[in-house]
Symmetry: C2
Subunit: 311 residues, 2 copies
Amino acid sequence: MTGAIAYISRDSDGPPWKAVLEAGLGPVDFRPLGALGRLEDIEVALAWKPPPGLIATFPNLKLIVSLGMGVDHLLADDRLPAGVPIVRIMDEGLVGQMSEYALFWALRHHRDIDKYAASQRARRWRPEPFVDTLHRRVGVMGLGAIGQDVARKFALLGFPVAGWSRTPRTLDGIEVFAGRDRLGTFLGRSDILVDVLPLTRDTRGLLDAAAFAALPRGAYFINIARGGHVVDEALLAALDSGQLAGAALDVANTEPLPADHPFWTHDRIALTPHIAGATNPRTASPAVIENIRRRRAGLPLLHQVDPQAGY
Amino acid sequence: MTGAIAYISRDSDGPPWKAVLEAGLGPVDFRPLGALGRLEDIEVALAWKPPPGLIATFPNLKLIVSLGMGVDHLLADDRLPAGVPIVRIMDEGLVGQMSEYALFWALRHHRDIDKYAASQRARRWRPEPFVDTLHRRVGVMGLGAIGQDVARKFALLGFPVAGWSRTPRTLDGIEVFAGRDRLGTFLGRSDILVDVLPLTRDTRGLLDAAAFAALPRGAYFINIARGGHVVDEALLAALDSGQLAGAALDVANTEPLPADHPFWTHDRIALTPHIAGATNPRTASPAVIENIRRRRAGLPLLHQVDPQAGY
Protein backbone atom coordinates (compact mmCIF):
# COMPACT_ATOMS: atom_id res chain seq x y z
CA MET A 1 0.00 0.00 0.00
CA THR A 2 1.91 2.98 -1.26
CA GLY A 3 -0.76 4.56 -3.39
CA ALA A 4 -1.75 8.18 -3.79
CA ILE A 5 -2.85 10.48 -1.00
CA ALA A 6 -5.82 12.66 -1.89
CA TYR A 7 -6.16 16.09 -0.23
CA ILE A 8 -9.91 16.76 -0.23
CA SER A 9 -10.23 20.29 1.13
CA ARG A 10 -10.84 23.78 -0.18
CA ASP A 11 -8.25 25.15 2.29
CA SER A 12 -4.88 26.25 0.98
CA ASP A 13 -2.91 23.91 3.23
CA GLY A 14 -2.22 21.38 0.48
CA PRO A 15 1.44 22.28 -0.11
CA PRO A 16 2.34 22.32 3.63
CA TRP A 17 0.63 18.93 4.08
CA LYS A 18 2.57 17.46 1.17
CA ALA A 19 5.81 18.75 2.72
CA VAL A 20 5.21 17.41 6.24
CA LEU A 21 4.00 14.03 4.95
CA GLU A 22 7.07 13.65 2.73
CA ALA A 23 9.32 14.57 5.65
CA GLY A 24 7.98 11.49 7.44
CA LEU A 25 7.11 9.08 4.61
CA GLY A 26 9.46 9.94 1.77
CA PRO A 27 8.13 10.95 -1.68
CA VAL A 28 4.32 11.01 -1.75
CA ASP A 29 1.96 10.94 -4.75
CA PHE A 30 -0.08 13.88 -3.39
CA ARG A 31 -3.31 14.76 -5.22
CA PRO A 32 -5.19 17.93 -4.29
CA LEU A 33 -8.90 18.39 -5.00
CA GLY A 34 -9.22 19.26 -8.68
CA ALA A 35 -6.18 17.17 -9.64
CA LEU A 36 -7.14 13.78 -8.29
CA GLY A 37 -6.11 11.89 -11.43
CA ARG A 38 -6.86 8.18 -11.63
CA LEU A 39 -9.20 7.46 -8.71
CA GLU A 40 -8.02 3.82 -8.57
CA ASP A 41 -4.63 5.06 -7.30
CA ILE A 42 -5.99 6.73 -4.16
CA GLU A 43 -5.38 4.81 -0.96
CA VAL A 44 -5.56 7.57 1.67
CA ALA A 45 -7.97 10.52 1.74
CA LEU A 46 -7.21 13.56 3.91
CA ALA A 47 -10.59 15.27 4.10
CA TRP A 48 -12.22 18.46 5.39
CA LYS A 49 -15.85 18.98 4.35
CA PRO A 50 -15.55 16.64 1.33
CA PRO A 51 -18.16 16.99 -1.41
CA PRO A 52 -20.76 14.30 -0.52
CA GLY A 53 -20.27 11.15 -2.53
CA LEU A 54 -16.74 11.96 -3.67
CA ILE A 55 -14.93 9.63 -1.28
CA ALA A 56 -17.16 6.73 -2.41
CA THR A 57 -15.62 7.04 -5.89
CA PHE A 58 -12.17 5.88 -4.70
CA PRO A 59 -12.38 2.10 -5.25
CA ASN A 60 -9.11 1.18 -3.52
CA LEU A 61 -9.34 3.54 -0.53
CA LYS A 62 -7.82 2.11 2.68
CA LEU A 63 -7.93 5.05 5.14
CA ILE A 64 -9.89 8.27 5.66
CA VAL A 65 -8.21 11.00 7.75
CA SER A 66 -10.42 13.81 9.03
CA LEU A 67 -8.42 17.05 8.86
CA GLY A 68 -10.51 18.41 11.73
CA MET A 69 -10.84 16.95 15.21
CA GLY A 70 -14.62 16.95 14.76
CA VAL A 71 -15.87 14.47 12.15
CA ASP A 72 -19.46 15.64 11.65
CA HIS A 73 -18.32 17.27 8.38
CA LEU A 74 -17.34 13.80 7.17
CA LEU A 75 -20.14 11.66 8.63
CA ALA A 76 -22.63 13.99 6.94
CA ASP A 77 -21.67 12.13 3.74
CA ASP A 78 -24.06 9.15 3.76
CA ARG A 79 -22.15 7.45 0.96
CA LEU A 80 -18.89 6.94 2.86
CA PRO A 81 -17.53 3.46 2.12
CA ALA A 82 -18.54 1.36 5.15
CA GLY A 83 -15.44 -0.78 5.40
CA VAL A 84 -12.81 1.98 5.34
CA PRO A 85 -11.58 3.08 8.78
CA ILE A 86 -11.78 6.76 9.68
CA VAL A 87 -9.23 8.42 11.93
CA ARG A 88 -9.22 12.01 13.03
CA ILE A 89 -6.27 14.26 13.55
CA MET A 90 -5.10 14.82 17.10
CA ASP A 91 -3.28 18.11 16.98
CA GLU A 92 -1.73 19.50 20.13
CA GLY A 93 -1.26 22.82 18.36
CA LEU A 94 -4.97 23.01 17.56
CA VAL A 95 -5.88 21.90 21.09
CA GLY A 96 -3.73 24.67 22.57
CA GLN A 97 -5.32 27.26 20.29
CA MET A 98 -8.80 26.21 21.36
CA SER A 99 -7.81 26.72 24.99
CA GLU A 100 -6.25 30.12 24.18
CA TYR A 101 -9.49 31.21 22.54
CA ALA A 102 -11.67 30.04 25.44
CA LEU A 103 -9.37 31.64 28.01
CA PHE A 104 -9.36 34.91 26.11
CA TRP A 105 -13.14 35.35 26.08
CA ALA A 106 -13.55 34.07 29.62
CA LEU A 107 -10.97 36.57 30.88
CA ARG A 108 -12.62 39.35 28.90
CA HIS A 109 -15.86 38.66 30.72
CA HIS A 110 -14.22 37.92 34.09
CA ARG A 111 -12.13 41.11 34.08
CA ASP A 112 -14.88 43.49 32.86
CA ILE A 113 -12.87 44.56 29.83
CA ASP A 114 -15.91 45.99 28.02
CA LYS A 115 -16.65 48.27 30.98
CA TYR A 116 -13.05 49.43 31.08
CA ALA A 117 -13.13 50.13 27.34
CA ALA A 118 -16.22 52.30 27.90
CA SER A 119 -14.44 54.09 30.76
CA GLN A 120 -11.45 54.76 28.51
CA ARG A 121 -13.71 56.28 25.86
CA ALA A 122 -15.18 58.52 28.60
CA ARG A 123 -11.68 59.34 29.99
CA ARG A 124 -12.88 57.95 33.31
CA TRP A 125 -10.37 56.35 35.73
CA ARG A 126 -12.74 54.09 37.65
CA PRO A 127 -12.05 50.58 39.01
CA GLU A 128 -14.95 48.14 38.72
CA PRO A 129 -15.98 45.93 41.65
CA PHE A 130 -13.65 42.99 41.89
CA VAL A 131 -14.78 39.36 41.43
CA ASP A 132 -12.50 36.77 42.97
CA THR A 133 -11.43 34.10 40.46
CA LEU A 134 -12.54 31.54 43.05
CA HIS A 135 -16.12 32.74 42.60
CA ARG A 136 -16.16 32.45 38.80
CA ARG A 137 -17.10 28.84 38.12
CA VAL A 138 -16.20 27.49 34.72
CA GLY A 139 -18.08 24.60 33.11
CA VAL A 140 -16.62 22.69 30.16
CA MET A 141 -19.04 20.62 28.08
CA GLY A 142 -17.18 17.77 26.45
CA LEU A 143 -14.09 16.18 27.99
CA GLY A 144 -12.19 14.80 25.03
CA ALA A 145 -8.68 15.99 24.23
CA ILE A 146 -9.77 19.59 23.75
CA GLY A 147 -12.11 19.73 26.73
CA GLN A 148 -9.50 18.26 29.04
CA ASP A 149 -6.93 20.83 27.94
CA VAL A 150 -9.41 23.70 28.33
CA ALA A 151 -10.44 22.47 31.78
CA ARG A 152 -6.88 21.98 32.94
CA LYS A 153 -5.78 25.45 31.83
CA PHE A 154 -8.71 27.20 33.53
CA ALA A 155 -7.89 25.23 36.68
CA LEU A 156 -4.24 26.29 36.47
CA LEU A 157 -5.40 29.90 36.47
CA GLY A 158 -7.34 29.28 39.68
CA PHE A 159 -10.90 28.99 38.36
CA PRO A 160 -13.13 26.31 39.90
CA VAL A 161 -13.77 23.99 36.96
CA ALA A 162 -16.32 21.28 36.30
CA GLY A 163 -16.84 19.22 33.19
CA TRP A 164 -19.79 17.45 31.62
CA SER A 165 -19.48 14.36 29.44
CA ARG A 166 -21.59 11.53 28.13
CA THR A 167 -19.75 8.92 30.18
CA PRO A 168 -18.14 9.14 33.67
CA ARG A 169 -14.49 10.18 33.83
CA THR A 170 -11.98 11.03 36.51
CA LEU A 171 -9.90 14.16 35.95
CA ASP A 172 -7.50 15.56 38.51
CA GLY A 173 -8.95 18.68 40.13
CA ILE A 174 -12.01 18.78 37.85
CA GLU A 175 -15.50 17.90 39.09
CA VAL A 176 -17.11 15.70 36.43
CA PHE A 177 -20.85 15.47 35.80
CA ALA A 178 -21.75 12.58 33.50
CA GLY A 179 -24.89 11.92 31.52
CA ARG A 180 -28.03 13.78 30.57
CA ASP A 181 -29.43 13.45 34.11
CA ARG A 182 -26.66 15.62 35.50
CA LEU A 183 -26.75 18.30 32.82
CA GLY A 184 -29.04 20.66 34.76
CA THR A 185 -26.89 20.50 37.89
CA PHE A 186 -23.76 21.08 35.84
CA LEU A 187 -25.27 24.08 34.06
CA GLY A 188 -26.58 25.51 37.34
CA ARG A 189 -23.04 25.96 38.67
CA SER A 190 -21.42 27.24 35.45
CA ASP A 191 -20.87 31.01 35.43
CA ILE A 192 -18.81 30.59 32.27
CA LEU A 193 -19.91 27.79 29.94
CA VAL A 194 -17.46 26.51 27.32
CA ASP A 195 -18.87 24.17 24.66
CA VAL A 196 -16.36 21.71 23.15
CA LEU A 197 -18.73 18.80 22.48
CA PRO A 198 -18.74 16.85 19.22
CA LEU A 199 -21.80 17.29 17.02
CA THR A 200 -23.80 14.09 17.12
CA ARG A 201 -27.45 13.00 17.12
CA ASP A 202 -27.36 13.44 20.91
CA THR A 203 -25.87 16.91 21.02
CA ARG A 204 -27.66 18.63 18.13
CA GLY A 205 -29.86 21.37 19.60
CA LEU A 206 -28.72 20.53 23.15
CA LEU A 207 -28.37 24.20 24.06
CA ASP A 208 -32.00 25.25 23.94
CA ALA A 209 -34.14 27.58 26.05
CA ALA A 210 -34.18 25.13 28.97
CA ALA A 211 -30.40 24.77 28.96
CA PHE A 212 -29.78 28.52 28.94
CA ALA A 213 -32.39 28.96 31.69
CA ALA A 214 -30.52 26.43 33.84
CA LEU A 215 -27.36 28.59 33.91
CA PRO A 216 -26.84 31.11 36.72
CA ARG A 217 -28.21 34.52 35.76
CA GLY A 218 -25.55 36.61 34.02
CA ALA A 219 -23.56 33.61 32.77
CA TYR A 220 -21.24 33.84 29.79
CA PHE A 221 -21.28 31.34 26.90
CA ILE A 222 -18.34 30.38 24.70
CA ASN A 223 -18.93 28.08 21.71
CA ILE A 224 -15.79 26.64 20.13
CA ALA A 225 -17.50 23.40 19.12
CA ARG A 226 -20.30 23.40 16.58
CA GLY A 227 -23.12 25.82 15.84
CA GLY A 228 -25.48 22.83 15.57
CA HIS A 229 -25.55 22.52 19.37
CA VAL A 230 -27.31 25.87 19.68
CA VAL A 231 -30.92 26.83 19.10
CA ASP A 232 -30.17 30.32 17.80
CA GLU A 233 -33.51 31.85 18.84
CA ALA A 234 -33.05 30.52 22.40
CA LEU A 235 -29.57 32.03 22.62
CA LEU A 236 -30.81 35.41 21.39
CA ALA A 237 -33.69 35.36 23.88
CA ALA A 238 -31.37 34.50 26.77
CA LEU A 239 -29.05 37.38 25.81
CA ASP A 240 -31.91 39.84 25.41
CA SER A 241 -33.42 38.97 28.80
CA GLY A 242 -30.08 39.32 30.60
CA GLN A 243 -30.07 35.64 31.53
CA LEU A 244 -26.80 35.54 29.61
CA ALA A 245 -24.33 38.42 29.98
CA GLY A 246 -22.75 37.63 26.64
CA ALA A 247 -21.56 35.02 24.20
CA ALA A 248 -18.44 34.41 22.14
CA LEU A 249 -19.26 32.29 19.11
CA ASP A 250 -16.64 30.82 16.80
CA VAL A 251 -19.15 28.56 15.06
CA ALA A 252 -22.65 28.86 13.64
CA ASN A 253 -25.45 26.65 12.39
CA THR A 254 -24.63 27.87 8.86
CA GLU A 255 -21.06 28.80 7.97
CA PRO A 256 -20.21 31.32 6.68
CA LEU A 257 -22.92 32.99 8.73
CA PRO A 258 -25.47 34.61 6.36
CA ALA A 259 -25.14 38.41 6.20
CA ASP A 260 -28.67 38.94 7.53
CA HIS A 261 -28.25 36.73 10.63
CA PRO A 262 -28.91 38.64 13.89
CA PHE A 263 -25.68 37.30 15.51
CA TRP A 264 -23.60 39.73 13.42
CA THR A 265 -24.99 42.85 15.05
CA HIS A 266 -26.01 41.72 18.53
CA ASP A 267 -24.12 43.87 21.03
CA ARG A 268 -23.60 40.97 23.43
CA ILE A 269 -22.24 38.56 20.82
CA ALA A 270 -18.62 38.38 19.72
CA LEU A 271 -18.36 36.41 16.51
CA THR A 272 -15.31 34.89 14.86
CA PRO A 273 -15.16 32.84 11.63
CA HIS A 274 -14.35 29.33 12.93
CA ILE A 275 -10.76 30.23 13.80
CA ALA A 276 -10.54 29.11 17.44
CA GLY A 277 -8.40 26.19 16.39
CA ALA A 278 -6.73 25.83 13.02
CA THR A 279 -5.27 22.48 12.07
CA ASN A 280 -1.54 23.02 11.87
CA PRO A 281 0.25 20.53 9.59
CA ARG A 282 3.39 20.85 11.75
CA THR A 283 1.71 19.60 14.92
CA ALA A 284 -0.97 17.42 13.30
CA SER A 285 1.23 15.43 10.92
CA PRO A 286 3.05 13.03 13.28
CA ALA A 287 -0.14 11.14 14.17
CA VAL A 288 -1.29 11.16 10.53
CA ILE A 289 2.04 9.70 9.39
CA GLU A 290 1.89 7.12 12.17
CA ASN A 291 -1.64 6.12 11.12
CA ILE A 292 -0.64 5.75 7.44
CA ARG A 293 2.28 3.53 8.53
CA ARG A 294 0.00 1.50 10.80
CA ARG A 295 -2.58 1.03 8.07
CA ARG A 296 0.12 -0.15 5.68
CA ALA A 297 1.36 -2.61 8.31
CA GLY A 298 -2.14 -3.76 9.32
CA LEU A 299 -1.72 -2.46 12.90
CA PRO A 300 -4.42 -0.92 15.14
CA LEU A 301 -5.00 2.77 14.39
CA LEU A 302 -4.78 5.82 16.63
CA HIS A 303 -7.74 8.18 17.21
CA GLN A 304 -10.12 5.98 15.23
CA VAL A 305 -13.65 7.29 14.87
CA ASP A 306 -16.74 5.31 15.88
CA PRO A 307 -19.27 6.30 13.19
CA GLN A 308 -22.14 5.10 15.41
CA ALA A 309 -21.20 7.36 18.34
CA GLY A 310 -20.40 10.15 15.89
CA TYR A 311 -16.90 10.93 17.23
CA MET B 1 3.28 43.92 71.69
CA THR B 2 -0.49 43.75 71.23
CA GLY B 3 -1.08 47.38 70.36
CA ALA B 4 -3.32 48.93 67.72
CA ILE B 5 -3.18 48.21 64.00
CA ALA B 6 -3.52 51.32 61.83
CA TYR B 7 -5.09 50.98 58.38
CA ILE B 8 -3.55 53.80 56.34
CA SER B 9 -5.34 53.66 52.98
CA ARG B 10 -8.06 55.52 51.13
CA ASP B 11 -9.40 52.21 49.81
CA SER B 12 -12.58 50.77 51.25
CA ASP B 13 -11.00 47.50 52.29
CA GLY B 14 -10.74 48.44 55.97
CA PRO B 15 -13.63 46.27 57.25
CA PRO B 16 -12.53 43.15 55.32
CA TRP B 17 -8.97 43.58 56.63
CA LYS B 18 -10.21 43.86 60.23
CA ALA B 19 -12.23 40.67 59.74
CA VAL B 20 -9.44 38.57 58.27
CA LEU B 21 -6.89 39.79 60.83
CA GLU B 22 -9.24 38.96 63.71
CA ALA B 23 -9.87 35.52 62.23
CA GLY B 24 -6.16 34.85 62.68
CA LEU B 25 -5.16 36.98 65.67
CA GLY B 26 -8.29 37.29 67.79
CA PRO B 27 -9.75 40.72 68.64
CA VAL B 28 -7.76 43.56 67.06
CA ASP B 29 -7.72 47.27 67.97
CA PHE B 30 -8.18 48.30 64.30
CA ARG B 31 -7.84 52.00 63.48
CA PRO B 32 -8.70 53.25 59.98
CA LEU B 33 -7.32 56.49 58.56
CA GLY B 34 -9.38 59.33 60.07
CA ALA B 35 -9.91 57.43 63.35
CA LEU B 36 -6.34 56.71 64.39
CA GLY B 37 -6.91 57.76 68.01
CA ARG B 38 -3.89 57.90 70.37
CA LEU B 39 -0.85 57.55 68.08
CA GLU B 40 1.17 56.04 70.95
CA ASP B 41 -1.02 52.91 70.75
CA ILE B 42 -0.13 52.05 67.14
CA GLU B 43 2.31 49.19 66.77
CA VAL B 44 1.55 47.98 63.23
CA ALA B 45 0.76 50.14 60.19
CA LEU B 46 -0.90 48.60 57.11
CA ALA B 47 -0.22 51.20 54.44
CA TRP B 48 -1.08 52.01 50.81
CA LYS B 49 0.07 55.43 49.56
CA PRO B 50 0.30 56.87 53.11
CA PRO B 51 0.28 60.67 53.46
CA PRO B 52 4.01 61.54 53.65
CA GLY B 53 5.16 62.07 57.22
CA LEU B 54 2.18 60.38 58.84
CA ILE B 55 3.89 57.11 59.72
CA ALA B 56 6.71 59.06 61.44
CA THR B 57 4.15 60.31 63.99
CA PHE B 58 3.61 56.82 65.49
CA PRO B 59 6.23 56.77 68.32
CA ASN B 60 5.84 53.07 69.23
CA LEU B 61 5.58 51.60 65.73
CA LYS B 62 7.15 48.15 65.35
CA LEU B 63 6.16 47.04 61.83
CA ILE B 64 5.12 48.60 58.52
CA VAL B 65 3.14 46.40 56.10
CA SER B 66 2.87 47.58 52.49
CA LEU B 67 -0.62 46.72 51.24
CA GLY B 68 0.76 46.53 47.70
CA MET B 69 3.48 44.23 46.42
CA GLY B 70 5.32 47.28 45.11
CA VAL B 71 6.69 49.57 47.86
CA ASP B 72 7.56 52.69 45.87
CA HIS B 73 4.37 54.28 47.24
CA LEU B 74 5.83 53.86 50.74
CA LEU B 75 9.50 54.61 50.12
CA ALA B 76 8.45 57.90 48.53
CA ASP B 77 7.90 59.06 52.15
CA ASP B 78 11.36 60.35 53.16
CA ARG B 79 10.35 60.56 56.81
CA LEU B 80 9.76 56.83 57.35
CA PRO B 81 11.22 55.80 60.74
CA ALA B 82 14.59 54.23 59.89
CA GLY B 83 14.54 51.46 62.50
CA VAL B 84 11.12 50.02 61.75
CA PRO B 85 11.13 46.99 59.43
CA ILE B 86 8.99 47.08 56.30
CA VAL B 87 7.35 43.96 54.88
CA ARG B 88 5.23 43.75 51.78
CA ILE B 89 2.23 41.60 51.19
CA MET B 90 2.71 38.46 49.13
CA ASP B 91 -0.72 37.73 47.75
CA GLU B 92 -1.22 34.71 45.54
CA GLY B 93 -4.63 36.07 44.58
CA LEU B 94 -3.09 39.32 43.38
CA VAL B 95 -0.28 37.45 41.60
CA GLY B 96 -2.82 35.32 39.74
CA GLN B 97 -4.80 38.37 38.70
CA MET B 98 -1.69 40.04 37.29
CA SER B 99 -1.06 36.96 35.18
CA GLU B 100 -4.70 36.88 34.03
CA TYR B 101 -4.44 40.48 32.91
CA ALA B 102 -1.17 39.95 31.02
CA LEU B 103 -2.49 36.78 29.36
CA PHE B 104 -5.69 38.52 28.31
CA TRP B 105 -3.97 41.35 26.44
CA ALA B 106 -1.30 39.08 24.99
CA LEU B 107 -3.97 36.73 23.63
CA ARG B 108 -5.93 39.66 22.25
CA HIS B 109 -2.89 40.68 20.24
CA HIS B 110 -1.82 37.12 19.39
CA ARG B 111 -5.26 36.09 18.14
CA ASP B 112 -6.01 39.25 16.11
CA ILE B 113 -9.16 39.98 18.06
CA ASP B 114 -9.32 43.60 16.91
CA LYS B 115 -9.31 42.50 13.27
CA TYR B 116 -12.07 39.97 13.95
CA ALA B 117 -14.13 42.66 15.71
CA ALA B 118 -13.77 44.84 12.61
CA SER B 119 -14.83 41.90 10.42
CA GLN B 120 -17.90 41.35 12.61
CA ARG B 121 -18.89 45.02 12.21
CA ALA B 122 -18.55 44.55 8.45
CA ARG B 123 -20.45 41.20 8.54
CA ARG B 124 -17.38 39.62 6.96
CA TRP B 125 -16.56 35.93 7.63
CA ARG B 126 -12.81 36.03 6.99
CA PRO B 127 -10.10 34.08 8.83
CA GLU B 128 -6.87 36.02 9.41
CA PRO B 129 -3.47 34.48 8.68
CA PHE B 130 -2.49 32.20 11.51
CA VAL B 131 0.56 32.82 13.74
CA ASP B 132 1.85 29.74 15.54
CA THR B 133 2.13 30.26 19.31
CA LEU B 134 5.70 28.95 19.00
CA HIS B 135 6.58 32.03 16.95
CA ARG B 136 5.20 34.59 19.43
CA ARG B 137 8.05 35.18 21.85
CA VAL B 138 7.08 36.62 25.23
CA GLY B 139 9.51 38.64 27.35
CA VAL B 140 8.85 39.28 31.04
CA MET B 141 10.77 42.13 32.69
CA GLY B 142 11.14 41.45 36.39
CA LEU B 143 11.26 37.95 37.82
CA GLY B 144 9.95 38.35 41.35
CA ALA B 145 6.85 36.49 42.53
CA ILE B 146 4.64 38.15 39.91
CA GLY B 147 7.08 37.89 37.02
CA GLN B 148 7.71 34.21 37.73
CA ASP B 149 3.99 33.46 37.75
CA VAL B 150 3.42 35.42 34.53
CA ALA B 151 6.35 33.68 32.82
CA ARG B 152 5.26 30.23 33.98
CA LYS B 153 1.68 30.70 32.76
CA PHE B 154 2.73 31.95 29.32
CA ALA B 155 5.05 28.94 29.07
CA LEU B 156 2.18 26.58 30.04
CA LEU B 157 0.20 27.96 27.11
CA GLY B 158 3.09 27.11 24.77
CA PHE B 159 4.67 30.53 24.24
CA PRO B 160 8.49 30.73 24.16
CA VAL B 161 9.26 32.83 27.25
CA ALA B 162 12.31 34.73 28.39
CA GLY B 163 12.77 36.90 31.46
CA TRP B 164 14.99 39.83 32.35
CA SER B 165 16.12 40.60 35.87
CA ARG B 166 18.75 42.60 37.70
CA THR B 167 20.53 39.51 39.00
CA PRO B 168 20.98 36.04 37.43
CA ARG B 169 18.32 33.42 38.16
CA THR B 170 17.48 29.92 37.04
CA LEU B 171 13.85 29.23 36.15
CA ASP B 172 12.63 25.99 34.66
CA GLY B 173 11.85 26.41 30.96
CA ILE B 174 12.45 30.18 30.97
CA GLU B 175 15.50 31.74 29.35
CA VAL B 176 16.83 34.38 31.75
CA PHE B 177 18.77 37.49 30.70
CA ALA B 178 20.39 39.27 33.67
CA GLY B 179 21.71 42.79 33.99
CA ARG B 180 21.66 45.97 31.97
CA ASP B 181 24.18 44.56 29.44
CA ARG B 182 21.69 41.91 28.32
CA LEU B 183 18.66 44.19 28.10
CA GLY B 184 19.01 44.90 24.37
CA THR B 185 19.32 41.22 23.50
CA PHE B 186 16.31 40.39 25.67
CA LEU B 187 14.19 43.13 24.08
CA GLY B 188 15.29 42.11 20.58
CA ARG B 189 13.62 38.71 20.95
CA SER B 190 10.42 39.88 22.74
CA ASP B 191 7.38 40.04 20.43
CA ILE B 192 5.22 40.62 23.49
CA LEU B 193 6.86 42.56 26.34
CA VAL B 194 5.33 42.36 29.82
CA ASP B 195 6.66 44.82 32.42
CA VAL B 196 6.43 43.65 36.04
CA LEU B 197 9.53 45.40 37.43
CA PRO B 198 9.53 47.29 40.71
CA LEU B 199 9.94 51.06 40.45
CA THR B 200 13.41 51.96 41.71
CA ARG B 201 16.18 54.44 40.91
CA ASP B 202 17.44 51.90 38.35
CA THR B 203 14.15 51.25 36.57
CA ARG B 204 12.66 54.76 36.38
CA GLY B 205 12.49 55.77 32.71
CA LEU B 206 14.00 52.44 31.61
CA LEU B 207 11.53 52.11 28.72
CA ASP B 208 12.71 54.99 26.56
CA ALA B 209 13.07 55.47 22.82
CA ALA B 210 16.12 53.18 22.69
CA ALA B 211 14.32 50.38 24.54
CA PHE B 212 11.26 50.50 22.28
CA ALA B 213 13.52 50.62 19.22
CA ALA B 214 15.27 47.45 20.42
CA LEU B 215 12.02 45.43 20.24
CA PRO B 216 11.11 43.52 17.06
CA ARG B 217 8.98 45.66 14.75
CA GLY B 218 5.28 45.20 15.53
CA ALA B 219 5.84 44.17 19.15
CA TYR B 220 3.11 44.53 21.77
CA PHE B 221 3.74 46.13 25.19
CA ILE B 222 1.89 45.33 28.42
CA ASN B 223 2.61 47.41 31.53
CA ILE B 224 1.26 46.00 34.78
CA ALA B 225 4.10 47.43 36.87
CA ARG B 226 4.55 51.18 37.22
CA GLY B 227 4.01 54.07 34.83
CA GLY B 228 7.33 55.53 36.01
CA HIS B 229 9.21 52.98 33.90
CA VAL B 230 7.89 54.53 30.71
CA VAL B 231 8.92 57.68 28.88
CA ASP B 232 5.44 58.53 27.61
CA GLU B 233 6.58 60.46 24.54
CA ALA B 234 8.82 57.57 23.48
CA LEU B 235 5.93 55.11 23.80
CA LEU B 236 3.63 57.33 21.74
CA ALA B 237 6.29 57.76 19.04
CA ALA B 238 6.88 53.99 18.87
CA LEU B 239 3.13 53.38 18.48
CA ASP B 240 2.74 56.10 15.85
CA SER B 241 5.64 54.78 13.76
CA GLY B 242 4.32 51.20 13.84
CA GLN B 243 7.39 50.02 15.76
CA LEU B 244 4.85 48.92 18.39
CA ALA B 245 1.57 47.31 17.26
CA GLY B 246 -0.14 48.30 20.49
CA ALA B 247 0.08 48.68 24.22
CA ALA B 248 -2.06 47.72 27.21
CA LEU B 249 -1.37 50.03 30.12
CA ASP B 250 -2.71 49.47 33.62
CA VAL B 251 -0.46 52.13 35.14
CA ALA B 252 0.62 55.67 34.32
CA ASN B 253 3.20 58.21 35.36
CA THR B 254 0.38 60.16 37.02
CA GLU B 255 -2.63 58.32 38.43
CA PRO B 256 -5.46 58.94 37.90
CA LEU B 257 -4.31 59.77 34.36
CA PRO B 258 -5.11 63.46 33.62
CA ALA B 259 -8.10 63.87 31.29
CA ASP B 260 -6.00 65.63 28.63
CA HIS B 261 -3.31 62.92 28.44
CA PRO B 262 -2.95 61.48 24.90
CA PHE B 263 -3.04 57.85 26.20
CA TRP B 264 -6.82 58.10 26.70
CA THR B 265 -7.62 58.49 23.02
CA HIS B 266 -4.77 56.71 21.25
CA ASP B 267 -6.30 53.98 19.09
CA ARG B 268 -3.45 51.55 19.82
CA ILE B 269 -3.56 51.97 23.60
CA ALA B 270 -5.87 50.06 25.91
CA LEU B 271 -5.95 51.74 29.29
CA THR B 272 -7.21 50.40 32.62
CA PRO B 273 -7.18 52.18 36.00
CA HIS B 274 -4.53 50.20 37.94
CA ILE B 275 -6.75 47.15 38.33
CA ALA B 276 -4.52 44.37 36.98
CA GLY B 277 -3.99 43.09 40.49
CA ALA B 278 -6.09 44.08 43.49
CA THR B 279 -4.88 43.14 46.94
CA ASN B 280 -7.37 40.62 48.25
CA PRO B 281 -7.54 40.45 52.06
CA ARG B 282 -8.54 36.76 51.85
CA THR B 283 -5.37 35.68 50.08
CA ALA B 284 -3.03 38.38 51.40
CA SER B 285 -3.82 38.05 55.12
CA PRO B 286 -2.05 34.79 56.05
CA ALA B 287 1.42 36.24 55.47
CA VAL B 288 0.46 39.51 57.20
CA ILE B 289 -0.79 37.61 60.25
CA GLU B 290 2.35 35.49 60.23
CA ASN B 291 4.54 38.61 60.10
CA ILE B 292 2.68 40.27 62.99
CA ARG B 293 3.16 37.08 65.04
CA ARG B 294 6.84 36.92 64.08
CA ARG B 295 7.41 40.56 64.99
CA ARG B 296 5.78 40.00 68.37
CA ALA B 297 7.99 36.95 68.95
CA GLY B 298 11.14 38.66 67.67
CA LEU B 299 11.55 36.19 64.79
CA PRO B 300 12.86 36.91 61.27
CA LEU B 301 10.20 38.39 58.97
CA LEU B 302 8.83 37.18 55.63
CA HIS B 303 8.98 39.30 52.46
CA GLN B 304 11.01 42.04 54.14
CA VAL B 305 11.83 45.05 52.00
CA ASP B 306 15.37 46.35 51.41
CA PRO B 307 14.86 50.13 51.30
CA GLN B 308 18.26 50.58 49.58
CA ALA B 309 17.35 48.26 46.68
CA GLY B 310 13.86 49.73 46.61
CA TYR B 311 11.97 46.42 46.72
